[in-house]
């Protein structure tokens, strides 16, 4: 077991806070360990959403998770956005501030999507510099998440996992390992998901994400619209066996069911953790055995839809 290098807390098993669940949470205060909130939904600090967040904050730890940092964009950093983000992070006393390893637009134009990075030395140097600036500005550890991607580029000079590992080391930032995104991209780009996870510095992982996806046959889309599939759970168990206890969060963003269903899905992670413990977290034998099953799973997908 390895703690993360900053001793950031293992918050337990959390759920992404969504507006359809505000009333249920405020009436029942369910036994959830923590909530993650989409930063941009609360930056204006007005309306019922912010009221609900403030009430929920009184009882639960909150982590802010953004979608608009656009860390990879060649546009200048948006300090108006960053000032609002800092104010929210301070109000919520969030242990870290997370966003995505992506870019959302350029020339002032925002696609509101998590666009794929060109994995080059130029991009790496650009992003590292921006992460350092943002960490200094926010006064908090920045934790960045690998995204699901649907395209690769010939101009890239290194695989995604090498890029992420170097970025984290050079910028001294944390990582949010979304195992569903690893699974999705592994299928879409035909790589070994465990090779990805093995390359990620475990002591920089501060958080895990879990989610459902939509299999389109020829590719997988990261929709957060369903239960977590077995292959993703296995990948989570594998990643956890390398890192040990880290805050784990379940995301559900489309066709959102009742809070009880979402929470129950998040709590499944506990069983996978316990299973990893039973096998001896961090042992080589566990890694080898699960790696094989995961490869078989991915090849099964590939064979089925090729």
């Amino acid at each position: 077991m390895l703690p993360n290098r900053w001793n950031l807390p293992d918050l337990g098993f959390g759920v992404g806070l969504r507006s359809v669940h505000y009333d249920y949470i405020l009436e029942n205060f369910p036994p959830v360990d923590w909530f993650e909130v989409i930063s941009e939904n609360y930056l204006s600090q007005g309306g019922y959403s912010f009221y609900a967040l403030e009430k929920i904050r009184e009882r639960y730890p909150i982590v802010t998770h953004g979608v608009s940092l656009s860390i990879g964009s060649t546009d200048p950093l948006n300090f108006t956005y960053l000032e609002r983000l800092k104010r929210l992070a301070d109000l919520m006393d969030t242990p870290w501030v997370s966003d995505h390893i992506c870019w959302t637009g350029v020339n002032g134009r925002n696609t509101h999507d998590l666009l794929p990075i060109l994995y080059t030395e130029e991009t790496l140097g650009h992003i590292v510099k921006r992460i350092r600036t943002i960490q200094d500005f926010l006064g908090r550890r920045v934790v960045l998440e690998n995204v699901s991607t649907y395209v690769e580029f010939a101009a890239s000079t290194m695989p995604e996992w090498e890029f992420i590992a170097r970025m984290a080391e050079d910028a001294d930032c944390g990582l949010l390992l979304d195992v569903n995104n690893v699974f999705v991209s592994a299928f879409n780009h035909n790589f070994d998901a465990k090779e990805f996870i093995d390359a990620i510095p475990a002591d920089r992982i501060c958080q895990y994400h879990l989610a459902g996806h939509t299999h389109k046959g020829t590719h997988i889309i990261d929709t957060h619209s369903d239960h977590v599939v077995e292959g993703v759970w296995e990948l989570y168990r594998y990643a956890y066996s390398r890192s040990g206890g880290r805050a784990t969060l379940l995301e559900w963003d489309e066709d959102i069911p009742s809070f009880e269903v979402v929470h129950a899905e998040a709590l499944k992670a506990r069983a996978y953790r316990d299973n990893a413990h039973a096998e001896g977290a961090g042992s080589g034998s566990a890694i080898v055995s699960t790696q094989k099953s995961e490869q078989q799973l991915l090849h099964a997908f590939a064979n089925e839809y090729d």
């Binding site: 930056l43 637009g105 350029v106 002032g108 925002n110 666009l115 395209v151 580029f153 020829t218």
Partner: protein, 288 residues
């Protein structure tokens, strides 16, 4: 990494990003997007095609197309959430066409999707749509309701505050509205239309000029919209502009008392509405 390799060619990051955004945000076909003047100004079609790797199952166009389709759906849904009555009026095909035209003219430049519709009413006015002024005013009403929903919560004046005002001080009292409040005058019956969409029992109005006066207000995080008569609108307008209660009543009486409306009826009606506004929590402060 993908098994289908193409020879590596260096590509400046900024060129790549400008190309990708130009293609992803183009609303035409894949072919039109890749070959648009904007896209080819950044990367020639051949160079772009070389840079994008196909998968075993998807072509280069297919893979970029995933982002293109998601962009369109995201922007369409964003506008549909902001403008449900405009969507109802136009129907899905025409609304989608308008979405494409709007985001081509006004691509999002905000970090939040909440701002994507801010220029929609003025854009509608610039089109050749029949009934464009009605649609623009309907969109303005829907934006105003969203703005009130997101406004900061400010406590209204309390019953204790009101009870503490001496009877002779009301005449010179000046009022401040809560932040979650707005007042509107429309030349078309857009509020009637909005109510008909919201409550299916209401009849849809004719799309002909007919004034609608509305105030929008949020109390305890419930946003409400109320139709006003012209004299009620004028009274409320004067009050939130800082006119004393006595002067505001006087001004309204002078303008709206005529052969059809006697003074006592008018006084009774606007007094009743004024009390309703107080009870509803429209005002944050009273200065006497």
């Amino acid at each position: 990494m993908n098994m289908i390799n193409k020879a590596h060619e260096p590509l400046p990051l900024a060129d790549f990003q400008r190309w990708m955004v130009s293609v992803v945000t183009h609303f035409g076909t894949d072919d039109q997007a890749w070959n648009s003047d904007v896209a080819t100004a950044e990367l020639s079609h051949d160079r772009a095609l070389h840079n994008v790797l196909p998968s075993k199952t998807l072509t280069e166009y297919d893979r970029i197309g995933i982002y293109r389709r998601m962009y369109f759906l995201r922007m369409r849904d964003s506008l549909a959430v902001d403008f449900p009555s405009v969507l109802h009026l136009l129907g899905k095909p025409q609304f989608e066409e308008l979405t494409e035209q709007y985001f081509t003219a006004h691509p999002s430049n905000s970090y939040t999707l909440n701002d994507t519709g801010l220029k929609f009413p003025s854009f509608v006015r610039s089109t050749t749509l029949p009934d464009k002024e009605f649609i623009a005013q309907l969109a303005e009403l829907e934006l105003a309701i969203s703005a009130v929903m997101e406004a900061p919560e400010v406590p209204p004046i309390s019953a204790v505050d009101i009870a503490g005002i001496p009877p002779d001080a009301w005449d010179t009292a000046i009022f401040t509205a809560v932040e979650a409040f707005s007042l509107h005058e429309f030349a078309y019956p857009v509020h009637d239309y909005f109510c008909a969409v919201e409550d299916k029992h209401n009849e849809f109005p004719n799309i002909q000029p007919h004034p609608n006066f509305v105030y929008i207000h949020r109390s305890n995080f419930h946003t409400q919209h109320y139709a006003l008569r012209a004299e009620e609108y004028r009274l409320l307008e004067l009050l939130i502009q800082g006119t004393t209660l006595g002067e505001a009543f006087e001004a309204v009486q002078q303008v709206f008392t005529n052969k059809q409306t006697n003074l006592e009826e008018l006084q009774a009606r606007i007094s009743s509405r004024f009390q309703e506004w107080i009870m509803n929590g429209v005002f944050a402060a009273i200065r006497t």
